[in-house]
Every structure is written in C-alpha cells, then in structure tokens.
C-alpha cells in the first residue's frame, strides 16, 4: 500500500525529512501500526515517533492513532501544535 508521508515540527527537524512516499507492508492497517513500522528505521525514529509524542493527520484532518490508513492517503506526522 503506497502512502504519502509528510513531517512537520520536531519530527521534520530531528528525522531530517519533510516528506516521502512509502510502500507500507501488508498487515499494517492503522496509524499506530504504521508508526511502529517507522520506528524500526533507527534510534531517532524510535525515540521521536512514540505514540505519546507524535500527532497525525490523514488527508489533512486530525486523526486518532487507531484510525485506519488507506492506499494513496496523505498522512502527516508532527509534534504538538503551537501556533498563534
């Protein structure tokens, strides 16, 4: 399943990437499972993308980590928002 990933805030800086297209392996159906898969990439990923620390949006709507992901989704991964 191909999805578009975007990173903002702290994860964008620490992981040194603002976006990528990934091919998520079969069996990964939710945001939480996708994050667990990304955490395997290395120490920074494991530390930065914890369920507690990270927030996500699917197709530009804030989403819960239990929400399902779908082919071609635009998924944003970011730290706690702090505008204004």
């Amino acid at each position: 399943m191909k999805i578009k990933l975007l990173y903002f805030g702290r994860p964008r800086e620490i992981l040194n990437t603002s976006g990528e297209t990934v091919d998520v392996p079969d069996g990964i159906a939710t945001l939480a499972e996708m994050l667990a898969w990304l955490r395997i990439r290395g120490e920074n990923w494991a530390l930065e993308l914890t369920d507690k620390r990270v927030r996500c949006a699917i197709n530009q709507e804030v989403a819960a980590l239990s929400d399902p992901i779908h082919e071609q989704d635009e998924i944003a991964v970011f730290s706690s928002i702090s505008g204004g």
């Binding site: 903002f8 964008r12 530009q60 928002i81 505008g83």
Partner: protein
C-alpha cells in the same frame, strides 16, 4: 480571501480599514495581534521559527471562521498568520472581526484565536542561548479553548 499565511509582516491599520470599508453596517471592529515575546521561562529569546502544514492550515482556519460565523452575527473576519523566522516584538498573528455591535466582534475574535492556538497546524521553535526547542500546546490554551464548549452563546 480572509485568510493569509505569509512570511511578510502586516499593517494593522490597513487591515482594519479594509474590514471597515467592507460594509457600511459595521458598528464594531475588534482586533487581536499576537507578538513574539523576548523571554520564555527565564530565558532570553533570540528568535522564533514558525512553520505550517500548507493546505491543512488554511482548511483548519476556514473551519474555525465558519464556526465563529455560525455562533455570532459577523460582517467580516480577517486572519493573518506569519511563518518563517521572527524576532522579539515582531507581529505573529492577526485576528480581526467586524460586526454590527461590539459583543459579537469581541466574542468571535477571542474564540478564533483560542481555537487557532489549539486546532490549526502551526509549529513554533524558540531559539535561546541554550539552543532550540519546539513548543508544545500549552495546557492554559487548551483550557481557554475548552471554555467555548460549555459556553455556547
């Protein structure tokens, strides 16, 4: 367009004049301008860096403004949020509201900035002599936003 996300600074007087000119029915104009403070937890701030999620940030602000329009009788709304590198005392954000009477303009202006703080995808990084830190949503901002759930006007 009543929403702008931009690097450039804005001119408060010009924005209010435009809102005033938009309708002869306007009897009240209220504005809030958020600035960069020069201190944070006892540390002197050298600069802040702001980024946003293009596409989602505009949508989130449109939704907040639509909710304000549903709650109060408004004649106009203007929101400007700056991004990029900003120095202490610089303007970060403008929320301006126009209505026939001041009650609606005051309430809607406060509602929009309270929601913007907690629901619009912007991120702020502070630079002090100790280094940089990404800010978290403040509990006090969440509490201010939650007041509007119980206080339906």
């Amino acid at each position: 367009m009543n929403i702008s996300i931009q690097d450039e600074d804005f001119e408060l007087a010009a924005e209010l004049a435009a809102l005033r000119a938009s309708s002869a029915k306007v009897g009240a104009l209220v504005s809030f301008v958020g600035l960069v403070r020069d201190f944070s937890g006892g540390e002197k701030i050298e600069n802040i860096y702001l980024e946003h999620y293009p596409g989602m940030s505009e949508k989130a602000l449109e939704k907040i403004i639509a909710e304000a329009n549903a709650r109060w009788r408004l004649l106009g709304v203007r929101v400007i949020h700056r991004v990029g590198m900003l120095l202490p005392n610089e303007q970060i954000v403008l929320v301006a509201t126009a209505s026939e009477h001041r009650g609606d303009a005051f309430a809607a202006c406060e509602f929009i900035i309270d929601y913007l703080k907690t629901a619009a995808p912007f991120w702020k990084r502070e630079q002090t002599s100790r280094g940089t830190a990404w800010l978290e949503t403040k509990d006090s901002d969440v509490q201010r936003m939650e007041r509007w759930h119980s206080e339906k006007s």
